[in-house]
Amino acid sequence: MTARVGVVTFPGSLDDRDAARAVRIAGAEPVALWHDTADLQGVDAVVLPGGFSYGDYLRCGAIARFAPIMSELVPAAASGALPVLGICNGFQILCESHLLPGALTRNRSLHFLNRDVTLRVEATGTAWTNRYTAGQDIRIVLKSGEGNYVADPATLDELERSGRVVARYADGAPNGAQRDIAGVANEHGNVVGLMPHPEHAVEALTGPSTDGLGFFASVLAHLADGSPMRAGAAG
């Protein structure tokens, strides 16, 4: 049976179509989910796409966190059952929802950054990264104004100790992110947030590589496998 992967559209989402396209290219059926409807339509996994939900008013992701669909998504994700990938604004929404630790703040340079970056994948035991090898370099695009990942030192230590740093900027964080962190996972490994955009790197024609496809292939492998996952490099 083809896996069904939901992509949530909030007012101001930009990358929902690219995310749905990436899901399709990976071999799953994308399901359009609407922020204002508290119904996950029985999907097997969810992508929270990039963009500027609610115009980034108040703080990035702060309003989207309270959208009706989040009342369904948050408990399903927090329990470890529902795989959720938050990309860019989606990552910000996951942090605001407290599904992931830390927060994303203004880039240190104050400039919006739009460039290809090399990421080093670390945690390969998550639902979204099991098709990568630990230490693998991937090249995908970063495009954000508030991608500076911050958390208190104890939280950062715990993320590193428990293998929940999903990826780091291999050449240093251009946005000032602490410890060069580009993505993190929750303790179950089903929820992953990533600042750069794997959904824009799934076809040679339009992306810097096809390295991003692995995130979407990973969740399909995870769903097909059905085995319990955990965060950590040894998955």
């Binding site: 309270f66 927060a103 240190r108 958390a151």
Partner: protein, 80 residues
Amino acid sequence: MARVVVDVMLKPEILDPQGQAIVGACGRLGFDGVAQVRQGKRFEVEVDGEVDDVRLAEIRRLAETLLANPVIEDFALRVE
């Protein structure tokens, strides 16, 4: 009508690049002696009737739920 003011500031340990940019501008404009600027947000919450303890507790909950992100920000309330 009463007004509750909620001031939200980045925690001291969180980098504030906007504040740093303002310090840089101060120097260029000849405002000497400005050692540091931290930029925050001010919310003016207007409520019907008096602000009693129950109402204030409610607005405090609003502040910690929505107006501020306690992971990176502190907030303070006062009735005006």
